[in-house]
Amino acid sequence: MSGPNTDYDPVEVTPLQAEEVEAARDAAIAAIEQAGDLEALKQARLDHAGDRSPLALANREIGALPPQARKDAGQRIGRARKDVSEALAARQVVLEAEHEERMLVEETVDVTLPTDRRRAGGRHPVTLQSELVADLFVAMGWEVAEGPVVEAEWLNFDALNLGPDHPARTMQDTFWTEPADHHVVLRTQTSPVQARTMLTRKPPIYVVCPGRVFRTDEYDATHSPMFHQVEGLVVDEGITMAHLKGTLDHFAGQLFGDGIDTRFRPSYFPFTEPSAEVDVRCFVCRGVAVSSAGDACRTCRGEGWIEWGGCGVVNPRVLTACGVDPEVYTGFAFGMGIDRSFMFRHGLEDLRPLFEGDVRFSAAFGTEI
């Protein structure tokens, strides 16, 4: 910052001619206009607006002029310097914009380069299917009940009207644990959870019980010693087969799509009476049994319906064994395979990928199903 020109030597004073100021200003503006980049503009600023620039030097001399000339020169030089300053600013904006534009062009990348930096996680589709089913029932106000996999024989069989000599026991190939006289099995069905529920809470009961179960089946494309079931149990006053049908129709519609319903066929299960097999209308051909191309539908093998599970009205003997008064309450129960439902819902023909642990399988389903 320069102070007043106290050491000013009047001998060196050059006259501040109007033409010279004009010329200096014009030269400055020309140089600014010609500056091709920010570097050149910086030089032009130094040359024409810096401390040693003609206009700056001229400005310094104003103080040495006689008072009447001082005002005149001050105005003239001030105007010239303002013009130069404005030109600099304008050129700065232009060049900065140009610079940014060029820089952005230079930084262009190939955005189609693929990346897979992070491992993709995923949940098992059977777990997801179990949760989906649970959610469908929770949405209706039901609750989800669970129980142990290694289970008491009494809960897996006797309490469910499967006495020690019941022929139906041979239909289920049970894993027994040692010692045999401890009467502990791997549960063959999730029904013991129903028994546990009735034993521990008072009706009304509306529960679904998803879970893993075990049978001594050799492992192949359609059998597995471990698989998953979901069972449902309702115990309330005035419950009928019609409520069972309504519930399963709703369940089928939610899981397989609007308009997909069920049909009942008479069957036999020790824990229900009357008992029914439940078929679900094929959600691909919608029961027509032929595909749009005219062939037999592959999903239902041309039947129009798919075997889904078993169900029925809870046998009063089961209610009695589980402490529910059959004179007051009735109930219904149903059960179906989660793995099997998943398989036909998603077109899987061989069940083994469910239990092989190949990450490509589960990862394909992500975290929702």
């Binding site: 401890h182 036999y268 009476e273």
Partner: protein
Amino acid sequence: MKAPVSWIREHVDLPAEVGTEELTDRLTMLGLKLEAIERPGEEITGPLVVGRVLTMEPEPQKNGKTINWCTVDVGDANGTGEPQGIVCGAHNFAPGDLVVTVLPGGVLPGGFAISARKTYGHVSAGMICSAAELGLGTDAQSDAGGIIVLPPGAGEPGQDVRPLLGFDEEIIEFEINPDRAYALSLRGIAREAALGFDAPFRDPVERDLPPADGAGHPVEVEDPEGCPVFVARTVSGFDPTAETPAFIADRIRMAGMRPISLAVDVTNYVMLETGRPIHGYDLDKVQGTVRVRRARDGERLTTLDGTKRELGPEDLVVTDDSGVIGLGGVMGGEATEISESTTRVLVEAAHWEPVAMFRTGKRHKISSEAGKRNERGADPTTCEPAADRVVELLTTYGGATAEPGVTVVGAPRPREAVHLDAGLARRVSGMPIDDETAIAHLRAVGCDVVVEGERLQVTPPPWRPDLTDPQDFSEEVVRVVGYDKVPSVLPTPPSGRGLTREQRLRRRVGRTMAGQGFVEVLTFPFIGTGDLDLLGLGADDDRRSLLRLSNPLSAEAPYMTSTLLPGLLRAAERNVGHGTTSFAVFESAPVTAPHGSGPAPILPVDRRPTDAELEELEKALPAQPVHLGLVAVGEADSSGWWGTGRHVDWSDAVEAVRGVSDALGLELQTRAAALAPWHPGRCAELLVEGVVVGHAGELHPRVCTAFGLPPRSVAAEVDLDLLLERAVDLRPAPVFSTYPVAKEDVALVVDADVPAASVEAALREGAGELLESVRLFDVYTGDQVGEGRKSLAFALRLRAHDRTLVEGEAAAARDAAVALAAERTGATQR
């Protein structure tokens, strides 16, 4: 159960327009589920005719085979009436025999088109057929694999042979549920068809019977509980060479059994017809009085399948003076078996107690057609008529004479009436079934109904041992009304409480793991000690205490697992085997403790067990905590055009568990541990609130090798139940200070074996309440810090919640932190 339609129709007058599909649809809806409809010969087209073999010249060939050059009379079926020349490789027929002949233009199963062709120096114009060639299967015909020789006079040459082979027949295969034993007979199936179409039913056991005079073969039943009815009839003069008539042999075949000899075929035929198992003895081999009793320990019997069996006191047996001659109701003995020389037959039609049948069948691993019916419960009133029917057939087709005298020991026990509400079916089904309809349907299925106002006294028919409880009768009414008529009504539950806390938390854990790049797998919980050896578990490792299965699928894996790691490592091994090089898997599943405390009682079922009984039941079960296990292999962040990735290391395993504990609002602590299957220097014990919840780290190199995994694979296993029960349910909202932060970095040099966690804890405590966070950002070992030392660089963030720190405050806090670290861990500032 398989039944030819013609046989069904023999016992029920179905309207002619009712086709097989309609019949099976209706029967399925009544509870006899259609399994399949067979139409034998369905695939065969073109001329298939009766041929009579005229000449047959054996011609030895160079290849060692002998072929027969035959001429066969096929009538006018070949258009010329001339004998047909046919080359045949089989030898089980002779000139004069009637054979099944397919002529050129015919097509056999499998699209096998027949044409005249040159072979073995002749033009063979057609084929003489075996059962297999007709698609009948080798065991469908008695002379397996050979040419079918039709009975003499079965037909005329040139006539279409299909009706003679039953090719105009349709066979329905039913899946019979265990409660409908009566449907294991034509009698039962026809009865259901009659019910379904409201058609007249002809009961095969309704026949005039000779009086039971007790003058037949002497029989004594010592165990009337086990054998309430025993009927004995005898025939003599039986011709053991008599052929089984074609209709009987065909029907036995169509029902899926094998014709054997007339005497045996007749008993099987009557069993199929009536549902009553019958046993025939060679009377000349039976010595003295026939007795029924329980076997004595040490008694033996060779059953007619040739198996020597040790009998026990629960087995019901038939004996004579020589000892045991049969396992009652299950299988006869070899010594008294009907043979090619039998001329006198003792016919036994007895009713056996089903539970005894079931136990004996199970104990001796015998599954027979007779046993199947007896253990489910046959109709006890059929013993006499069935025996009489057998006698009739043996005399008609076997030339036998019925001996006078009918022995009947015992009598069918009368069924007890069951009392039920007339409206029960309505209440159970939700259908508007009025009382009259319910009563009519009960009578239609054979029940005797006495109406007492709104109560019914219902006596089930003798062929329905399954009908015992009131609700059983409601099923009968509902199935006749039709399951397809059940309306669809959604019940209205009370407001639910949603998922339980544990259910929500388990889902959260699963999502967290997936979010961390882990893929969920499900593995079988079966292991063997070999799996634990591969993990390198010590002899006294708790995880070697296992619950053993009595009947494992594999002898190599007879236990329920105590750890998820073997299953996960096997899954990892398969992924590596499938060519996946970088991946991470997890599983959340229960593991099983070796045992509970004592046996689980078999409680009564006629009442709710007491709480004490239930508690005993519960205690008998082994603990089954849910574990979370994980394995990661290869790169954690992959390499690519962006640069080199990062291989997983021990800390990925810890961090994954930390991610889970964070998600549960828990703080995870770690400390060094040495536990198999981890690398002894790279295993962290994981703690929450001072409780050990599991372990994580790098796998021992030998474990990686054992499971075929690349080196430096990592794993963790924690007891998820321990985490879930501590999970924070309600997290307070955080309050942030908006005053400026003061950052202080410190580098502390400590001995190499000082855990970073100890240094950090000292810094935290020493810095006091101004400390907002401390983060280890660098670890350095090398010349600058000296042998056996390491430098830990921490970034401290200090801030007050209510003011800007004044000059020197942050430095003072830092100095205090360093001072405490120095005191606790010997740290020196670098």
